[in-house]
């Protein structure tokens, strides 16, 4: 993954618009957050291999960026995206990595299902 190039990432988001695509969306503080810091309110969310179709996808803000996908009757967004790649399976993988190298958020878009 490379740090986000807004123009290129915008082109990639456009290329998946108006198609049935598989989504991976994840936010996390890690399972050990409240072990290492007592009282830490640990929250996160995860969906994988849900099929959606978006009509408009947009990169917003300076890094870390926000990515929003407008659906016919809803929305998906991810905040904190720093890195992206189009991998060898033509999947658009985006991630928000902290300075410590830990993933905090991921948003991935693919025309084929992600592995289990």
């Amino acid at each position: 993954m490379e740090t986000v190039d807004v123009t290129h990432l915008q082109e990639l988001l456009d290329s998946f618009a108006n198609k049935d695509v598989y989504i991976h969306l994840e936010t996390t503080n890690g399972s050990y957050a409240s072990h290492f810091q007592e009282g830490f309110f640990n929250a996160g969310a995860f969906i994988r291999n849900v099929i959606i179709r978006y009509e408009l996808g947009k990169v917003a803000g300076e890094s870390p960026h926000r990515i929003g996908l407008k659906l016919p009757s809803g929305w998906i967004y991810a905040q904190g995206i720093t890195h992206y790649t189009l991998d060898e399976h033509n999947r658009l993988l985006m991630a928000g990595l902290g300075p410590d190298g830990k993933l905090a958020v991921a948003l991935e878009i693919s025309e084929t299902p992600f592995a289990y």
Partner: protein, 223 residues
């Protein structure tokens, strides 16, 4: 000196649980000629350490961690590794009967004299606790006469308060090199902590050496 066993079955959910928790125990049993089977339930697909700049992404991490697991098993001398195909962070949401059957099948096939897994409530990560729950449930359904002993790892901050001192402590300084090699094999998980640990070992830091040489367990009491 570890007690001789007929066969040891280790059940943990993530590649690296075995190296952090019991690499010395595994290596020592293998040196004693005790067969050890490790059932690793997931490939740690949801691990957060990807580096910055990143060395992996969400989709390549599982294959990296699989290779690290194979290398760690080599370092410990473990040859019977079972990768069970579940997904990281989903164990507690699985069908409980599916998990119990998985554990029952392993125990019936291997007839271990000792099973090592996580404590069902004091193992911090939800996957750890859920693994312990499934192992205990499977073993509690066995006839008492056939039931192996169960050692559990517990490391919640409240462990000492709830369970008291560990029931068993394996001292394994003779295989410390293998434990270090196993930890190094899990580079994606340990590259941030090992350099600091190595300094502390070199400086004879008591807590760091205790962590390296001693592996503590609680024995489960079945009703």
């Amino acid at each position: 000196m570890l007690q001789k066993e007929r066969h040891v079955l280790v059940v943990f959910p993530h590649p690296d649980d075995e190296s952090f928790g019991i690499a010395g125990t595994i290596a020592e049993y293998i040196e004693m000629g005790v067969p050890v089977t490790y059932a690793c339930l997931t490939l740690g697909e949801m691990g957060r350490n990807l580096g910055n700049p990143p060395f992996a992404n969400r989709e390549t991490l599982p294959q990296i961690r699989k290779q690290e697991l194979l290398d760690a098993c080599d370092a410990m001398g473990l040859t019977d590794l079972r990768m069970m195909g579940l997904r990281d962070k989903t164990i507690e949401f699985e069908d409980p009967e599916k998990l119990v059957k998985m554990m029952t099948d392993l125990i019936e096939e291997l007839t271990p004299s000792l099973v090592i897994s996580f404590h069902p409530t004091l193992a911090v990560h939800p996957d750890h606790n859920a693994t312990g729950v499934a192992v205990i449930e499977a073993m509690s359904r066995m006839p008492e006469a056939n039931r192996p002993v169960l050692y559990m790892k517990a490391f919640d901050n409240d462990t000492l308060n709830q369970l008291g001192e560990p029931h068993v402590v394996h001292q394994t300084p003779n295989v410390a090199d293998k434990k270090i090699a196993a930890l190094r094999a899990h580079a994606s998980q340990t590259v941030w902590m090992l350099p600091d640990m190595e300094k502390r070992w070199a400086a004879n830091d008591k807590d760091a050496l205790d962590w390296l040489y001693n592996e503590a367990f609680y024995i489960h009491k079945f009703n």
